[in-house]
């Protein structure tokens, strides 16, 4: 402990509060709207599967977002769907991070040596599979219902979470590796090695803290992609299964009702997906810019 005090300091807590651009502000507003709907919406709306007695009622005082073809309140379903989509996206990104960050750290620390080569070849193989095609293939083989793997039962929701996570691993791992490659060149890492700090403590205790900001910015950006991907899978009937709503399966159910004049049924969940994905991307972009500015300083 005494030794580490005289060592060069690692660069922690570098992200300062930046001046935000108009785009980032817009993104923040969109993101807050989405989070309001996803977090508060389900608390104030009724049950998402309850029937109201009105089939395809237009938005109005009685039903803010209108009703669907099974007489269910669309506000309740959209809010619940947004919550489900957000949870699935966050869980998918979280699962991707849990696997990718250690892999990227190890690959970066041993940059150019065999552990790096091994990890990178595996990631490249994984990255060669387009995320969506990969997900379609796996769900096509295992089916949309529950899958039993030994004693573990994977529900359709869990499968979507895992597939999204697996698809994200190469991206997160690459960012982690790149950041780690930069960090291992820093003096404090050499100093820690010299004083005999174990390798795992250098990686997990010091480098990890410094590579997290760019990785988390990436993760934030990919939540938007995950919401979009989950929606696409559920739209095709391969993701979240009814009666549980998700933004994608609400939109999937709505196809065909546009012609019957129920424009709200497609437009509203579609707009929510748009707001979520653009919100996450613009705010993620803003965070990325802030990080770059900090790095330049």
């Amino acid at each position: 402990m005494v030794m580490t005090r005289v060592l060069p300091r690692s660069r922690t807590s570098r992200l300062r509060v930046p001046r935000m651009s108009a785009l980032t502000w817009s993104g923040l507003v969109l993101l807050l709207l989405f989070l309001l709907l996803a977090v508060v919406g389900p608390l104030v709306a009724g049950t998402s599967t309850a029937r109201t007695g009105d089939t395809l009622a237009a938005p109005g005082a009685a039903h803010l977002f209108g009703t669907d073809h099974l007489q269910r309140d669309l506000f309740a379903r959209t809010a619940e769907g947004a919550r489900v989509s957000l949870l699935v996206a966050v869980a998918g990104v979280g699962f991707g991070l849990v696997v990718a960050v250690p892999a990227g750290l190890v690959a970066g620390y041993f940059g150019g040596r065999w552990p790096d080569d091994l990890i990178m070849r595996i990631l490249e193989a994984l990255q060669a599979l387009p995320l969506f095609v990969f997900a379609l293939f796996v769900i096509g083989v295992t089916g949309t219902g529950d899958s039993q793997i030994g004693p573990v039962t994977l529900t359709s929701t869990t499968k979507v979470v895992l597939l999204l996570g697996v698809g994200f691993i190469p991206y997160f791992a690459r960012v982690t590796r790149s950041a780690t490659l930069v960090e291992v060149q820093e003096d404090y890492v050499d100093a820690l090695r010299v004083v005999g700090v174990p390798r795992w403590r250098i990686i997990a205790g010091e480098i990890l803290v410094n590579v997290l900001p760019p990785v988390l910015v990436q993760a934030f950006l990919w939540i938007g992609v995950a919401i979009f991907a989950e929606s696409a899978l559920s739209f095709l009937g391969l993701g979240i299964q009814p009666p549980q709503p998700s933004l994608g399966n609400i939109l999937g159910d709505a196809t065909g009702y546009m012609l019957l004049g129920a424009w709200w049924y497609s437009i509203i969940p579609g707009l929510v997906i748009l707001v979520a994905t653009i919100g996450f991307n613009l705010v993620g972009d803003g965070l990325g810019d802030a990080l770059d500015a900090d790095n330049r300083r």
């Binding site: 690459r174 009937g237 653009i278 972009d285």
Partner: protein
């Protein structure tokens, strides 16, 4: 510096894609709501020589001997013919057969003479060998044909006595064979096992098969019966109901099958379109695994039946086009009992709770396995929500048809539900619906009722149609009381057509057939 190139590229591409998709969706929405598209295509007074069907899907296997689904039979019906056919009152009359069959006194041998001068589309004459080839194929349980349900184990052998005479030997008296022979297509012996196309003796022949997308038929000028005026028929696979509807209103197709219930009202407002709603063997079939808890107890099944929201399914899912169901046998099928009145339109939750209490079940939870088509998913959701009001928790398991069938055939379900047109295979008989209720049927999972077994034996054995109807009616009543098959409604066959072609024959729709109109001009 950290390399963000890959992720930045992907993000930008993603944002671009989002923008393009949004713009595209709005453009499509704008196109879809354009009312000016209504009914424009067909010119008044112009004779329609080729009619186009818009169907949900076209099977990759264009062989009517392999399955009994509408995906094949609506397309192959004009191409192939059966030994017997339906007259205007749906009575079975000879078509390829030359007169009535000779049935031996013990009922085990049927001898059928074939009509002279009938030829296949390639010019080959119809012979007993062709009929034997078709019958042998569908009687072989290993052939994996849907038709084995109707023939295997009952038909011992089929043999050609001479070029124009077929002898069918049965393992047991099997009077319902007449109905099966009225539905079973006879194909050219060289085409029995082919899956890419088919050849029959019908008024149209297969010209082109674009697998899964389109099938084109052209007139058979050597047809042995009344030659059609139409030059051709095209079947287009248009899976999305809204797209099918737009195509019909624009006149790009003449006949639309599988009209979604919610669009019936809209189509009825279109002066260019006629909507046919007909009682047909369009069944919702429900199965329980009745030898395992909780559904081994009749009271639990009855509780579920009493708490079933039939009215909700009829009004919400079928937009009022279906009829409230009592037993498994619907109004277009032999054995339907219109006087049967056990379950009300609205759920009786109090009775359901009382029955559950009698059964000693404090909280009923089960999984309902449904097929993934929109209608079944909707029916499942409405039922689950209704049962919830009675304190019953129903979890839906939505599966594509193949895994659904796999689980169903192996008994891996608690309650299963699907819908299909059984008329192609079973005609008006209740074989498809009631068959699995026999304790000897491989698809029966635990239901055993000696009286049902006895009545089923009698129903399939007799050549007396009235006796069969009576037996099936009794079985229907027993099954309804035992709540072993509890369809919520009897759906109707709904087909829409443009008015510039002659009206479709609604009588024939009663056995799921969509006949080709004889004349097609205004």
């Amino acid at each position: 510096m950290i390399n963000h190139n890959m992720s930045t590229f992907d993000r930008r591409r993603f944002l671009t894609m989002t923008g393009v998709l949004t713009a595209g969706a709005l453009a499509l929405a704008a196109c879809g709501t354009d009312d000016s598209a209504t009914g424009g295509a067909a010119k008044e007074g112009k004779k329609v020589e080729t009619i186009t069907f818009g169907v949900v899907s076209i099977s990759d296997y264009m062989n009517p001997l392999t399955n009994t689904s509408k995906r094949v039979h609506w397309i192959t019906d004009p191409v192939v013919e059966s030994l017997y056919t339906y007259d205007a009152s749906l009575k079975s009359i000879p078509l390829l057969a030359d007169g009535e069959p000779e049935i031996s006194d013990d009922g085990l041998t049927w001898t059928i003479k074939l009509k002279q001068g009938v030829t296949f589309h390639n010019g080959d004459p119809l012979t007993a060998d062709d009929v034997v080839a078709s019958l042998t194929f569908v009687s072989n349980p290993k052939s994996t044909s849907d038709w084995t349900t109707f023939f295997a184990y009952y038909v011992k052998s089929a043999e050609a006595v001479d070029k124009q005479t077929v002898k069918i030997t049965l393992t047991t008296p099997f009077g319902v064979l007449r109905s099966h022979l009225t539905n079973l297509p006879i194909v050219h012996k060289a085409f029995v096992e082919r899956t890419d196309t088919t050849m029959g003796t019908g008024p149209f022949k297969v010209d082109k098969v674009a697998q899964g997308r389109q099938v084109t038929l052209s007139r058979n000028d050597a047809y042995h019966g009344t030659k059609p005026e139409l030059k051709g028929v095209v079947f287009e696979a248009i899976p999305d109901p809204a797209t099918r509807l737009v195509n019909l209103r624009e006149g790009k197709i003449h006949i639309m099958t599988d009209v979604s219930p919610e669009s019936v009202a809209l189509l009825k407002q279109d002066s260019q379109i006629t909507v046919h709603e007909v009682d047909a063997p369009s069944d919702i079939i429900t199965y329980f695994v009745a030898n395992k808890a909780p559904f081994d107890d009749v009271k639990v099944r009855q509780a579920l039946a009493y708490a079933m929201d039939r009215k909700g399914v009829r009004d919400i899912v079928y937009a009022g086009t279906a009829k409230i169901a009592q037993g498994p046998v619907g109004p277009a099928v032999e054995g339907h009992d219109s006087s049967l009145q056990i379950y009300g339109e609205a759920p009786d939750y109090a009775k359901a709770k009382a029955l559950l209490a009698e059964a000693g079940v404090s909280s009923l939870e089960f999984t309902l396995m449904v097929t993934s088509d929109a209608v079944m998913k909707n029916v499942g959701q409405v039922l689950a929500e209704g049962w919830k009001q009675a304190g019953i928790t129903c979890t839906l398991e939505v599966l594509d048809f193949s895994p659904w069938v796999k689980n169903w055939a192996s008994g891996k379900y608690q309650m299963a539900m699907t819908g299909f047109e059984s008329g192609f295979g079973g005609g008006r008989t209740a074989v498809t619906v009631l068959g699995p209720m026999s304790s000897k049927n491989p698809l029966n999972f635990g239901y055993k009722n000696d009286e049902v077994d006895k009545l089923l034996g009698e129903a399939w054995a007799t050549t007396d149609d009235a006796a069969r109807v009576e037996a099936c009616k009794k079985i229907n009543g027993i099954l309804a009381n035992d709540a072993i098959m509890i369809p919520p409604v009897y759906p109707r066959l709904v087909v829409a057509q443009r008015k510039e072609i002659s009206p479709l024959d609604e009588k024939l729709m009663g056995v799921s057939r969509v006949s080709l109109p004889p004349v097609h001009s205004v």
